[in-house]
C-alpha cells in the first residue's frame, strides 16, 4: 500500500510522460494484436471458405472440347477420389457499375450457368436480393469489398458482340479467384436463359473441372504431378486457348498475400513503437531519478530499501502498461471494422476478425515483460546511491574526461555550440533516436516511391510484373477456319495466318506494330528436379517493350530457353545448364541462356522463341497478337477497326492500359494507404519522441534555464538551444533515411517481392521529389513540435528558480 502511494505520487508528478508511455503501449498493443491475430485468421478464413464450399483440391479450366477424355484421365488417376465439371464461357469484357456511374474497366470474365450446380466448389451467395431474374448476375465478392458494388446495382457488360445490363443479385466468395491481383479474371453466374445467349456474344466456350484428391495428399504438391500426367495422357490439351490449373492450398496463401503484407507492416511499426516506448520509459526513469533524488534520499533515510523503490517504479510503469494494453485492445476491437475493410478490399474475401483472448494475452505479456525489463535495467542506478548522496542531490556521474565542443575552441555560434554540446552529452540516446527516425523515414520514403511507380506512373510496376506492355491485346478464338497452327515444315514462316493478320492490322492507320505471342505449358526437368511451367514464346524478342532479363539474354535459337527466377531456383540451374522440356513422350533439351523475372504465376515460367515452342508443342495455336499504336491515338477506335476487319473471328480485344489499371487498382489503393499510414505514423512517433524529450529536459534543466535567463539569455535564444539539441539528430536521421531510400530503396523492394515472386531487380523510377518530401515532412513536424514545446521556457521566471533553493 505504501509503495502504491509512492507510485501514485510519482505518476502525478510526471503525468505527461506517463500519458505518453500509456499511448505508446496502447498503439503498440493495437498494432501487434491486430497484425498477429489477422495473419493467422485470414488464412484460416480462406481455408474455412474452401471447407464450406467443399472446394476442389485441384481445378482445371480448359477450352479443350473432349470431356470424355478428361474424365478418362481422372478415372485413371488413383489419387483422384471425386470430380465434377461445369461449363463456362470466357471472354474479355468492359464493365461498369451503372448505378454508381463508375468508369469502364476491362477484365477477363468466366461466365457460368446458375442452374449448372456442382457439389464440389459449390457457391455460397451473400447479400442476396429477394428475386432471381433473367438478367440477374452474381459477382465475385471482390467487387463488393474492393470496389464498393452493392446488391441491386445495375452493371453493364460490353462483350465482343453485344452489350448487356444486369442487376447484381449477390456476391460469391471464391478462394480460387479471389481478386484481380491474384488471378486476373472474375467468375460470375448468370441465369440459364442468359447463359444460352452468352454463346452468341463472341465468347469462348470451355469446361471447368473440379477434382478432389486423397486426403493424405497435399494439393500444392500433387498439382505438379497432375499437370504432367494430364499433358501425357491428353497430348495437346495444354495447347488449348484456355488452359488453367491451380490448387486450393496455393490459392489460400495467394489470396491472402497482400493482407499479410499489410499486417507485416503493422507488426514492423508495432516493434518500432515498442522500442520507442522502451527508450521513453528508460529516459523518464533516469530523469525522474535525478529529479527526485532528495525525496528518494528522505525515503531511504527513513528505512525504505532500494528494492522497494525499484518496485514502486515497477508499480508505476506496469500499471500504466496494463492500462495501455487494455486501451490498445479496446482500440483494436474498435478499428476491427476498418481492418476488415482493408483486408477484404485486397483479398476479395468476406473475412471477419474474431477476438482471440490467447493472442491478446500473449501480446500483453510481451509488452509487460519488455517494460519490466526496461525498468529493471534503468533503475539499477538506484542501488548505487546512498541516502546521503541522494540528499546531497546525488552523485553527479559526469564523465570528467569529456568536454565536447569546448566554447573556447569552437568556431560555431554560441547557441549552436551549446546545442551540439547537448547532443554529444546524450550520445547513446541520440544515436538510438537517429536510428529510429532513419528507419521510419526510410520506410516512409520507400513506400512513397513505390506508390509513385504503382499509381502515378505505373511503368515501373508494369516492368516488374513482367507482362509485355502492348496497347491492345488481341486474343483470337478461332471459329472461322483460320489456321493458327505453326506452318508446315518447308513453308515460309511468315505465310502463317497469324502473321497475315498482323500484316493486315499494321495497315490500319495509327498502328505502329503488331506481332504474335505464343503460349504453352511444359514439364521442365534438370534430370533431378522437375516442375510444370507456363511457356511464353515470341518470334523476335527485340520488338518487346518490356525487358525482363536480369541475367544473360533472350533465346535466339530453337534450343535456347530463358527461365524465370523462381523456376531456375526450383530446378537449381544457371545460365549454361541444360534442361529438358517433356511433353507427352517427347523430351527436348534446351540450354539456359538467360534468367528473367516477372511477378505473374508466382514468378515461374520460361521463354522460348517460336521455333522452340514448335519443338515442344507442335500443335499449339498462336492466338494472341500484341498491337502497338502510335502516341495520342484513340485505342478504342483502333479496337473497333480491328473488329471491323476481323469481325468474323470471335476474339477478345483488350485495351491493355484499362485492363492493367483494373488489376492494379486495389494494389495501388493498398500501397497508397500503406504510404499514408507509414507517413502519419512516422510523424506521430517523431513528434512524440520530441515532445517527451523536451518536456523532460525542461523539467530537468528548469533551474539552469532560469539562471541563464538571469544571466541574460533571451527566451528565443534558449528555445533555439533546446531545439538545436534535438532537431539536428532528427534531421540527420531523416536525411539518412531518405538517402538510404535513394541508394537501396529499389533493392529493398526487390527483396520484399523476391519472397513473393522471385523478383531479383527492381528498377522503379526513383522519385527524388517524393523522397525529399517525406524527409522534409518529418523534419518540419519535429521542428514544429520542438518549437511549440520549448516555448514553455517563456514561463520560466529566473527569480523563482533562484528563490526555490
Amino acid at each position: 500500500m505504501k509503495l502504491m502511494i509512492i507510485a501514485l505520487s510519482n505518476m502525478r508528478k510526471h503525468k505527461s510522460s506517463i500519458v505518453v508511455t500509456g499511448i505508446l503501449v496502447a498503439c503498440a498493443m493495437l498494432l501487434l494484436y491486430s497484425s498477429i491475430n489477422s495473419i493467422g485468421s485470414v488464412t484460416n478464413h480462406a481455408a474455412d471458405v474452401n471447407k464450406k464450399q467443399n472446394a476442389a483440391d485441384v481445378i482445371l479450366y480448359t477450352s479443350y472440347e473432349d470431356k470424355e477424355k478428361v474424365f478418362d484421365f481422372f478415372d485413371s488417376q488413383e489419387e483422384i477420389t471425386e470430380y465434377e465439371s461445369r461449363g463456362f464461357y470466357s471472354t474479355g469484357v468492359k464493365y461498369h457499375n451503372v448505378t454508381m456511374d463508375s468508369k469502364k474497366e476491362q477484365m477477363e470474365f468466366r461466365i457460368m450457368n446458375e442452374k449448372d450446380k456442382t457439389n464440389i466448389s459449390n457457391f455460397i451467395i451473400y447479400d442476396k436480393q429477394k428475386e432471381w431474374k433473367e438478367n440477374s448476375i452474381i459477382l465475385p465478392m471482390y467487387l463488393k469489398t474492393g470496389l464498393g458494388f452493392h446488391s441491386g446495382d445495375e452493371i453493364e457488360l460490353e462483350y465482343a458482340l453485344a452489350t448487356q445490363t444486369y442487376e447484381i443479385y449477390g456476391f460469391i466468395e471464391d478462394v480460387m479467384f479471389p481478386n484481380p491481383n491474384t488471378v486476373g479474371m472474375y467468375e460470375c453466374i448468370v441465369s440459364s436463359e442468359e447463359y444460352e445467349r452468352v454463346a452468341s456474344y463472341g465468347c469462348l466456350a470451355g469446361n471447368a473441372y473440379f477434382v478432389k484428391i486423397d486426403e493424405k495428399l497435399q494439393p500444392f504438391k500433387y498439382v505438379n504431378d497432375f499437370r504432367k500426367n494430364i499433358d501425357d495422357h491428353i497430348p495437346g490439351i495444354s495447347s488449348s486457348v484456355v488452359y488453367y490449373i491451380n490448387d486450393s492450398q496455393s490459392m489460400c496463401y495467394a489470396a491472402s498475400v497482400w493482407a499479410y503484407t499489410i499486417m507485416a507492416l503493422f507488426a514492423v511499426f508495432a516493434i518500432f513503437i515498442i522500442v520507442i516506448a522502451v527508450i521513453v520509459i528508460r529516459f523518464t526513469i533516469v530523469t525522474t531519478l535525478e529529479d527526485n533524488l532528495p525525496n528518494i534520499g528522505i525515503l531511504e533515510a527513513g528505512g525504505y530499501t532500494s528494492k522497494q523503490m525499484i518496485f514502486a517504479n515497477m508499480v508505476e510503469y506496469l500499471s500504466t502498461t496494463i492500462i495501455g494494453i487494455l486501451l490498445g485492445l479496446a482500440g483494436a476491437v474498435g478499428v476491427k471494422g476498418l481492418l476488415e475493410n482493408i483486408v477484404n478490399a485486397t483479398t476479395g474475401l468476406k473475412w471477419q476478425e474474431e477476438f482471440s483472448p490467447v493472442i491478446a494475452v500473449i501480446c500483453g505479456i510481451i509488452l509487460i515483460l519488455m517494460v519490466a525489463l526496461t525498468i529493471r535495467i534503468a533503475s539499477r542506478r538506484m542501488k548505487k546511491i546512498t541516502p546521503l548522496d541522494a540528499l546531497r542531490d546525488g552523485i553527479h556521474t559526469h564523465n570528467f574526461k569529456k568536454n565536447p565542443i569546448s566554447l573556447e575552441k569552437s568556431t560555431l555560434p554560441l547557441n549552436l555550440s551549446i546545442g551540439c554540446k547537448n547532443i554529444l552529452q546524450s550520445l547513446k540516446q541520440n544515436i538510438s533516436i537517429l536510428i529510429i527516425v532513419c528507419l521510419l523515414t526510410f520506410i516512409c520514403a520507400v513506400f512513397f516511391n513505390v506508390y509513385y511507380n504503382v499509381a502515378v506512373d505505373p511503368d515501373g510496376i508494369i516492368r516488374l510484373v513482367g507482362i509485355e506492355k502492348c496497347d491492345i491485346a488481341y486474343e483470337i478464338n478461332n471459329t472461322n477456319g483460320m489456321d493458327l497452327h505453326f506452318p508446315a515444315e518447308g513453308t515460309d514462316k511468315k505465310d502463317a495466318d497469324y502473321w497475315k493478320m498482323c500484316d493486315r492490322i499494321k495497315e490500319i492507320e495509327g498502328v505502329q506494330n503488331a506481332f504474335p505471342c505464343g503460349s504453352g505449358s511444359t514439364y521442365l526437368t534438370n534430370g533431378k528436379q522437375n516442375t510444370q511451367i507456363e511457356l511464353t514464346a515470341y518470334d523476335d524478342f527485340s520488338q518487346l517493350k518490356i525487358n525482363t532479363i536480369v541475367e544473360g539474354r533472350y533465346p535466339e535459337e530453337n534450343n535456347e530457353i530463358v527461365l524465370a527466377t523462381k523456376t531456375a531456383e526450383q530446378l537449381k540451374v544457371e545460365i549454361g545448364d541444360v534442361v529438358y522440356a517433356e511433353s507427352g513422350e517427347k523430351s527436348n533439351d534446351f540450354v539456359v541462356v538467360g534468367i528473367e523475372q516477372h511477378m505473374y504465376n508466382v514468378g515461374t515460367g520460361a521463354l522460348v522463341n517460336f521455333d522452340g515452342l514448335q519443338k515442344i508443342s507442335p500443335d499449339v495455336e498462336i492466338n494472341n497478337l500484341f498491337v502497338y499504336t502510335e502516341e495520342d491515338v484513340d485505342i478504342d477506335t483502333i479496337i473497333k477497326e480491328i473488329k471491323d476487319a476481323f469481325g468474323d473471328y470471335q476474339s477478345n480485344l483488350a485495351n491493355f492500359d484499362e485492363y492493367f489499371t483494373t488489376i492494379l487498382a486495389t494494389f495501388s489503393s493498398a500501397i497508397g494507404a500503406m504510404s499514408l499510414f507509414s507517413l502519419v505514423s512516422t510523424m506521430i512517433i517523431v513528434c512524440l519522441i520530441i515532445y517527451l524529450l523536451i518536456k523532460m529536459k525542461l523539467l530537468r534543466d528548469r533551474r539552469m534555464l532560469g539562471i541563464y535567463k538571469a544571466l541574460g539569455f533571451t527566451t528565443p535564444q534558449l528555445v533555439g538551444q533546446t531545439v538545436l539539441s534535438y532537431i539536428p539528430v532528427i534531421g540527420t536521421g531523416a536525411l539518412l533515411g531518405g538517402g538510404l531510400a535513394i541508394l537501396i530503396g529499389n533493392k529493398t523492394v526487390a527483396a520484399v517481392f523476391r519472397v513473393i515472386s522471385g523478383i531479383q531487380k527492381c528498377n522503379f523510377t526513383t522519385v527524388y521529389s517524393y523522397i525529399i518530401l517525406s524527409v522534409v515532412l518529418v523534419i518540419v513536424a519535429a521542428l514544429a513540435i520542438a518549437v511549440a514545446c520549448s516555448a514553455k521556457i517563456r514561463k520560466i521566471e529566473p527569480c523563482k528558480m533562484i528563490q526555490e533553493q
Binding site: 553527479h396 559526469h398 570528467f400 568536454n403 569546448s406 566554447l407 573556447e408 554560441l414 551549446i418 554540446k421 552529452q425 533551474r703 539552469m704 539562471i707 541563464y708 535567463k709 538571469a710 544571466l711 541574460g712 539569455f713 533571451t714 527566451t715 528565443p716 517563456r794 521566471e797 529566473p798 527569480c799 533562484i802 528563490q803 533553493q805
Partner: protein
C-alpha cells in the same frame, strides 16, 4: 560622482489569489559609480526582492528604475535579458554553475553572449580566474570537481566577465565557510577598488563591513543609511560603527 542607477518610488507587490503582499513600498535610492552598496535587513524585509527588481531580473509593480539614463522598468522580458547581459553581473548564494560544462566554458557561456571575440573573452576569463586565485589546472575541470569556495570564485568571474556596470550579489558568502568567505570578500574588495560597482545583499556583518555604505531595509522601505567609507583592512572602527547602526535599527 554620477549616479549609475536611479530608483524612484519603487513598489513591488505579490498577489496570491485575493491576498496581496506589498514587499517594497515607494523605495527610492541611487547607486553611484564605483560604490560598494550593501543592503541589509531582517528576514522578509524585501532585500532580495529589491535586488532583483533594480537589476532588471524582476519587473516592479510601480516606480522608475533608470540605469545610465535608460528607463528599464517597462522593458519586455527579452529586452530586460539583453539589458542584464550587457550591464549586470550576478553572483548568487549557490554558484549555479552548469555541471556539464567545464570551468572555462561556464564563464564563456556568459561572455560570448555579449562579445563574439572568443580569444579576447577567453583571455579575460583566464586573467580574472588568476586574479581570484584559480590556476590553469582548473580551467578544464567541472564544477563537481571544485570545492565550494573555488566554485563560488568561478561564479564571480562569470558575473564579471562582461565588465558589467553593476555586480549584483545575493548572499554570495551564505553557503561558504569562514576562510572561503574571506577569500570571496577580498575578491569583491579588490574589484571594487579597481572601479567595479557592487550591490550586495547580506545578513552577515563580516560581509557588510566591506561596503562603503549600508542601506537598512525594513518593511519594504529604506529605513536608514550608514556611510562607512572605502574599506581598508586596517580600519577596525567600521565594524563598531556598523554594529551600532544595526543595533539602532533593531537588527
Amino acid at each position: 560622482m554620477a549616479a549609475i542607477l536611479k530608483v524612484t518610488d519603487l513598489c513591488k507587490a505579490f498577489s496570491n489569489g485575493s491576498v496581496q503582499q506589498h514587499v517594497l513600498k515607494n523605495l527610492t535610492m541611487n547607486i553611484e559609480k564605483g560604490d560598494f552598496t550593501v543592503i541589509m535587513g531582517s528576514s522578509g524585509s524585501g532585500k532580495s526582492t529589491m535586488l532583483y527588481s533594480v537589476s532588471g531580473m524582476d519587473r516592479p509593480t510601480l516606480g522608475s528604475i533608470i540605469y545610465d539614463g535608460q528607463e528599464i522598468s517597462k522593458l519586455s522580458n527579452d529586452k530586460l535579458a539583453i539589458f542584464r547581459r550587457k550591464n549586470c553581473g550576478f553572483v548568487f548564494q549557490q554558484n549555479y554553475l552548469n555541471n556539464t560544462m567545464s570551468v572555462i566554458d561556464n564563464i564563456l557561456v556568459n561572455g560570448l553572449l555579449v562579445s563574439k571575440d572568443r580569444k579576447k573573452i577567453a583571455a579575460r576569463a583566464k586573467e580574472y580566474l588568476k586574479k581570484v586565485g584559480l590556476t590553469a589546472e582548473c580551467y578544464d575541470k567541472f564544477p563537481s570537481q571544485l570545492s565550494g569556495g573555488e566554485a563560488q570564485r568561478v561564479a564571480i568571474v562569470r558575473g564579471l566577465i562582461n565588465q558589467p556596470g553593476i555586480l549584483f550579489a545575493d548572499e554570495p558568502t551564505g553557503a561558504l565557510n569562514s576562510q572561503n568567505t574571506t577569500n570571496v570578500l577580498d575578491i569583491f574588495t579588490e574589484f571594487n577598488q579597481d572601479g567595479q560597482t557592487i550591490v550586495m545583499v547580506t545578513h552577515d556583518i563580516r560581509s557588510a563591513v566591506r561596503g562603503n555604505r549600508v542601506l537598512y531595509l525594513k518593511d519594504g522601505v529604506i529605513e536608514a543609511e550608514c556611510e562607512l567609507g572605502r574599506y581598508t583592512p586596517e580600519d577596525t572602527n567600521r565594524d563598531h560603527i556598523l554594529r551600532e547602526f544595526l543595533e539602532k535599527m533593531g537588527w
